[in-house]
């Protein structure tokens, strides 16, 4: 079997600072923040009342007309994935079923649909609390207590028959396969914040081994609902100092960091076999050359103080790409703004990259977009690919006093021009112990 090379030919983003690759890129260059007081519901009694909301997103704008009614059974996470998929397919110049049926491309497809795969990282999708609480409240007894026998006999009928399908994590990828007619392997990785990197890594492998020519891959999630926000609050991950100044609430790697903020969002990349991309004349962002994953063998809920799993992932990913630490020109960090998590990540990067870790530019974008869980990594990966394309690094919002203990050279304040041949992007799950790293390189011609 010959070795197949894999490149990125499309990027789709749906984030609190914009929808579409160029819109998000522009917002980052302008150092804009997408974090503000939550408006999707009244956050008044939550400890952290800010988050990154996507404004004006409706999946019905991103599907063929005939599929619009299906958007009623899409949780917010699914809507974000469907929007990102449309943006990515369009950016890549793929004539998918979606674009053809919308009249935006002329058929037939410029690829084989049985060779188009989907690999999306998803979170634990929260039930729509308003819908569910209303149904549950209709099954209470005279004293106002929930009565499961009433629920079983009649109460559950207040839920739509397809209720379960709104919340299955694989529905992100399933809707995307249907909308774009993607019939090759479809996988759903559910490893919290590491999901996107693992999904993209697996798509890379899927194409390498010849099981698909193209993959739409990445992740999406929204924890911006009363259940998701409550979970993060209970887990003590959120900053509580940002309610008065949301736009500076999340400060990755800053000495003053004190927690993360939730966002909603995600991204999908189009990964493609290099020869396939060249044959159809696709525009290429960069090459995916390395991937590795690892896990924490000591704790399923606390970061390793030395960042050992991060070190393992980065070392193996570089080896996979055939690179040395000195070849890395940009570190796309995960940077959640949670004090001990950022410290662990930085320690792991320093152990893997040595002196190089503090010498090359690093970027952390969650100050601008928040932490969108399983969708976070994909946003990072899309931005990383754009840094390679434009040879430019946007500033890391809200990093004003980089923590010297972290030892990273974060780009702050204004964009930095830089010669970038190779970068590493990392992610880790806040719980579960999964870590992953990907290496992107400028395509050698």
């Amino acid at each position: 079997m010959s070795t197949r090379r894999v490149v990125i030919t499309g990027i789709g983003l749906a984030t609190p600072i914009g929808i579409g690759a160029e819109a998000v890129w522009k917002s980052l260059l302008e150092n804009r923040s997408g974090v503000r007081r939550i408006t999707a519901f009244d956050p008044g009694r939550f400890r952290c009342q800010v988050g990154g909301e996507i404004e004006g997103l409706s999946a019905s704008q991103y599907v063929p007309k005939a599929y619009r009614k299906s958007t009623k059974v899409m949780a917010r996470d699914i809507e974000i994935a469907v929007a990102a998929a449309y943006e990515a397919a369009r950016d890549a110049g793929l004539k998918t079923r979606c674009l053809i049926e919308r009249g935006e491309a002329e058929g037939p497809p410029n690829f084989d649909p049985t060779r188009l795969g989907v690999n999306i990282g998803a979170g634990l999708i929260c039930a729509d609390l308003t819908e569910l609480a209303g149904a549950l409240a209709a099954s209470t007894d005279e004293s106002g207590r929930f009565d499961i026998r009433r629920w079983g006999a009649e109460g559950m009928n207040n839920l739509t028959p397809l209720w379960l399908l709104k919340f299955l994590p694989n529905m992100l990828s399933c809707h995307v396969t249907i909308v774009h007619d993607a019939q090759a392997p479809s996988n759903t990785i559910t490893c919290s914040e590491a999901s996107s990197h693992l999904a993209v890594g697996e798509a890379f492998r899927t194409i390498s081994r010849g099981a698909a020519d193209i993959c739409l891959c990445g992740g999406a999630e929204s924890k911006l609902n009363p259940m998701g926000l409550m979970r993060q609050q209970l887990l003590g991950r959120l900053t509580t100092s940002g309610n008065d100044r949301p736009e500076v609430a999340c400060r990755p790697f800053d000495v003053s960091r004190d927690g993360t903020v939730i966002g909603e969002g995600g991204g999908l990349l189009v990964l493609e076999d290099l020869e396939h991309a060249r044959a159809r004349g696709a525009s290429i962002y960069c090459e995916v050359t390395g991937f590795a994953a690892s896990c924490n063998a000591r704790s399923w809920h606390e970061p390793d103080p030395q960042g050992r799993p991060m070190t393992l992932a980065v070392r193996k990913a570089l080896a996979d790409a055939g690179l040395r630490p000195d070849d890395v020109d940009l570190i796309m960090t995960f940077g959640t703004g949670i004090p001990e998590q950022d410290a662990s990540e930085a320690a792991g990067l320093r152990a893997a990259l040595g002196d190089r870790a503090g010498q090359v530019p690093a970027l952390a974008i969650k100050g601008a977009v928040g932490n969108s869980g399983a969708g976070s990594g994909a946003i990072d990966l899309c931005i990383a690919a754009m840094c390679l394309r434009y040879q430019r690094i946007p500033p890391s919002r809200n990093v004003t006093r980089p923590d010297p203990a972290c030892g990273l050279d974060l780009v702050t304040g204004r964009p930095r021009e830089a010669g970038i041949d190779a970068l590493v992007s990392v992610a880790y799950a806040l719980n579960g112990g999964q870590n992953a790293a990907l290496v992107f390189q400028r395509l050698e011609v």
Partner: protein, 443 residues
Amino acid sequence: MARPDRTNGDRRVVVTGCGWITPLGDDLDGVWKRLLRGDSGVSPTELFDASTFPTTFSAQVKGFDLRRYLGEEAAARHRDVSRNTGFALAAAQMAWKDAGLDDFAGLDRTAVGIYLGGGEGPIDFDNFVAAAVSAWDRQAAGGRGDLDTRRWAEEAEKRLNAVRELEQDPNMAAGHIACQFGVEGPSFNTLTACAASTQAIGEAACLIRRGDADVVISGGTHSMIHPFGTTGFNRLTALSTRNDSCMTASRPFDRTRDGFVLGEGAGILILEELQHARRRGARCRCEIRGYGSTADAFRITDIHEDGRGGIAAMRLALEDAGLTPEDIDYISAHGTGTEENDKIESLAIMQLFGEHARKVPISSIKSMMGHLIAAAGAVELITCILAIRDNILPPTTNYQTPDPNCPLDYVPNQARPARVNACLSNSFGFGGQNDTLIVTRIT
């Protein structure tokens, strides 16, 4: 530096250990004996009060106690786990021992990975419901009622518990397993509905083939026998409602089938690179020979009527294995007992296997232990491995009335001795997920 070879096409993947927690028990050979005897693991649901639900029964794991598998000390460390993570830890412990890894000192733990098809943990039902109900403002929205999110925030913070919320995440089983066995390699969890653990094992085999790991702890775990799980499947009308005869309710391929029976449990396999296994003198139970994965890209609720996704998954698995339909001695069907699945799965087998379709025995152990959802494929693959070991096929029980749409040999009601060298196992999931594995006797 030169780029390393990405293919490593000569690395073969074998199974060196198996463990399971099922509605029919937990010991490898005991459960196998019960399957061959045609026992049923189905009974009225006791995990919650389902007496008024459209479906009042399920296939439950009874009397589960993690201490029995891990010992007091280790079980105490994992005391807060969800039901499905507990199943996974117990099954992994048995598989690890079965593979002889518990007393093998030379393991490179950075080359041991995890790839599970693990479900989400059951919601903290009583506390969640109490908070949700008290946050419902009946007078709001002109008497239609609305959620008072301020009230919710107060009630939920009081009632919900951080650890129980954390442990619901589907990647937590993998997290606990990593710590239990001290492994540091790649760790994945996939959740592609009912196809998840078959997909996990297929992808785990790819990790080993490529050299990303030498050993992978793979399989699946799930429990949806809880009020919202049963509600969800009942609303979809996917479950059998044969409440007066629950032990015969799961009737794959029978004309009177009326839906699947919800089961729970875990199946864990130790996958290992063949030379790695041989070097340490491990017993190799069989080879993971082929894997195929496709999407229907059709509808979220229905299978494509031509069975095109299932056909393609089986065809790709055969190609990957370098085998033809005639080489397959047994098909472990997805065989859920729903009208649509069994008809289209039979059609897909007929389309791909041609003449041979009528000759190849097919059965569904879901007739006995129900549908373990994300864990189903792993448990079914273990039965394929045992079928190869013992040259005998488990039956499809409760099969009485042939269905003209399902005209194949479903090994009705009686286990059957047969020469078994190669088995094909199917798993299909909501949303059009299709995954097929082929396991063979090691030659």
